[in-house]
Symmetry: none
């Protein structure tokens, strides 16, 4: 699409857990996504075991192949953590003891009220020419260093630590060291529509060839990404965004990349609750706490979970005999009257078949109430997740109209 040469990136994951399939490598996808946003070209992902010879060999191969290597894993204190040793051996680097790294580790252990084991000292050895990447979220420092022609970034394999390090240090260093043609990325976050339906609707618009369209299907959120080449006209970007929003309609709950950013539907609701200074009282059934755990304690006052809707009929001594939207409203009103919150939200459900339920939602405040029902199919865990996101989306729409 663009004429500029884009830096080539190899993503290297290491560790027995990944190579043996004991864990799925989510780090590689996260890093690849960052690279795309930066306008870099990921040419390979590679994963190798905790094996010194193999690591040395693969690092040399990457050095010959790419401009940038983003490497995760192998920085821990144990005997199977061999990254530093392998890098030093691959490019004939001396290892030096880094006092500051040791000091930070000691501080981290003190903060955690834990004793630092002798084996942790190993983690303070870094290649002589390396720039340490401070780790405030765990023990292992990361580091940046040059091979022969490739710039290597070493980060811990723990996704949380890796992510924090990327945000705090790695992205900035990548941008400083590599001049790139940064494309503009716009992400539509979508709920309540399948990937193929979205594809079909998007196919109906004749999107310009220089815009790259891609999908990322989660459960149940789906992302539609538009990647516009560098210095694409802002008005033209807005033109395409409007066109897509028009065909996808109310299924789009957020559009990221035009000055806005939300992480997911829970984050979207959090922003609205905070902005409107609301407080919430919640009753969950099918989602069994999955809504509550994602609510912020600043505005979630209380939540009750009844995994079995029958227990609710007993508890609320209602005259209604079955679970329904009107029962959900009755309970929400009852809860609102008995607590000191601005909004009361109730989720009920009724099992139709083994893999099919109807969810009933009601949300009530002093002046305004709303309810809905929806059929959810699939197995238990899937039902739980869809119930959870449907509840958040229902609350989002209510808040927007408030």
């Amino acid at each position: 699409m663009d004429e500029l040469i884009r830096p080539k990136v190899v993503i290297l994951s290491q560790g027995d857990e990944v190579i043996t399939g004991a864990i799925v490598d989510t780090n590689a996808a996260v890093l690849a996504d960052h690279c795309r946003t930066l306008g870099f070209d990921v040419v390979r992902h590679m994963t190798v075991a905790d094996d010194l010879d193999e690591l040395v060999k693969v690092m040399r191969e990457i050095d010959a192949l790419a401009d940038i290597c983003l490497c995760t894993g192998g920085l821990g204190p144990t005997q199977d953590d061999l990254t530093v040793e392998a890098f030093a051996s691959a490019f004939s680097k001396e290892l030096l003891f880094d006092d500051e790294a040791l000091r930070m580790m000691s501080e981290y252990f003190a903060k955690m009220n834990a004793e630092m084991a002798a084996v942790n000292r190993k983690q303070a050895y870094l290649p002589e020419s390396a720039t340490r990447i401070d780790n405030y979220w765990g023990t292992a420092p990361g580091f940046i260093d040059e091979g022969n022609t490739c710039r290597f970034y070493f980060m811990p394999g723990v996704p949380y630590e890796m992510n924090e390090m990327v945000q705090a240090t790695v992205l900035a260093d990548l941008q400083n060291h590599f001049e790139v043609d940064v494309p503009s990325l716009v992400t539509f976050r979508i709920l309540g529509m399948g990937e193929s339906s979205i594809q079909q609707l998007v196919n109906g618009i004749d999107i310009a060839d220089d815009i790259r369209v891609s999908f990322r299907a989660g459960l149940p959120e789906i992302e539609l990404k538009l990647l516009f080449p560098n210095s694409y006209d802002d008005a033209l970007i807005q033109h395409w965004v409007d066109k897509i929003e028009a065909v996808l309609g109310h299924c789009v709950f957020a559009i990221d990349g035009l000055g806005h950013s939300v992480k997911n539907i829970a984050d979207c609701v959090d922003q609205l609750m905070t902005e409107k200074q609301m407080s919430l009282n919640l009753l969950e059934t099918l989602s069994k706490g999955d809504v509550s755990r994602q609510c912020h304690a600043d505005w979630l006052v209380r939540s009750i979970i009844y995994p079995h809707p029958d227990d609710i009929l007993l508890q609320y001594k209602t005259q209604q005999q079955t679970v329904s939207e009107s029962l959900a409203i009755e309970i929400a009103q009852h809860e609102l009257a008995n607590t000191d919150t601005a909004i009361s939200l109730v989720q009920l459900f009724d099992r139709v078949e083994d893999n099919k339920v109807t969810v009933y939602l009601a949300v009530v405040s002093k002046h305004y109430q709303r309810s809905m029902s929806q059929v959810i199919k699939g197995r238990g865990h899937r039902q739980q997740l869809i119930a959870s996101s449907t509840t958040f989306n229902f609350l989002r729409k209510y808040l927007l109209d408030l």
Copy 2:
């Protein structure tokens, strides 16, 4: 470790969605797990984009490196599906039209009530020397063929089709073609002890050189894995397992691989609750529903969540002025008296500093009560996860003593 030579496997995933991070590569983990079970040695995972030159290059590299290549993706009908072409080009194979493959595809489309597009014909071209892998679950046939020294297995990238093909054809072919040495894997699941402390304690035991030791650090669970060579003496496996269990003590909540299997601490509690036919009433605070959502509806009767402990002091009209273990017991007893469950579990907390809280837990049944407190440090989300697993572990120990 063992004397037998284990076949070397490279797992190759291809496709723009994987390389750009648009999707997480779960196929690689699934295939790697099969290889471990078969006793094969996965030496690398590699992922490349839909680029012909790159594919040819990487297939030749793999041929030189491994005995087996398990490849997913790139078998579809569109212009960016280049696997067959790349393999033919890498090893100078002719492509032949496979009538049977076309017949099966036509049949599949007929079954789906869909018309077969002209582009699908492309999928019936296979290398002259290939053995077709029938696909009853989608359109693209897979195939098995030899490079120069490596046996290649090509499968679709759609996880469902890939899985079915592996079960129906690939596993049997692998077992027929490669004589292997199947190792035994034992996994210790650990809570309440850090990775480096575990390493230190394990270092204290002089574990035999032929046993491979590895770690997997989660938040907050940690796994310690022992891989024993094929036909290792059962009594000797038990000897080492006992030794390790002895040093790690009560932090081990499960040992997988000796006929037992649990997924995590919630699964462990689920097995105990079911076995003992218990029912639970729960009050959560800090974990904000993260315990409830992992409880099974078969035994979780009701759960209440108060994100703010102060609201509990008001709600329960207790004479106690502060949050404490004894308050947790008082509330648990109150809840037990007012509900029809066998066990009542209460989790309270007290904020010491911004990033430091004390959690108080009490569990009560008719005949037996227990309580504990624990300091948890770190940021909000970390506190929530640790509170959750600590609560499950507390309940687990209670159930074991019941």
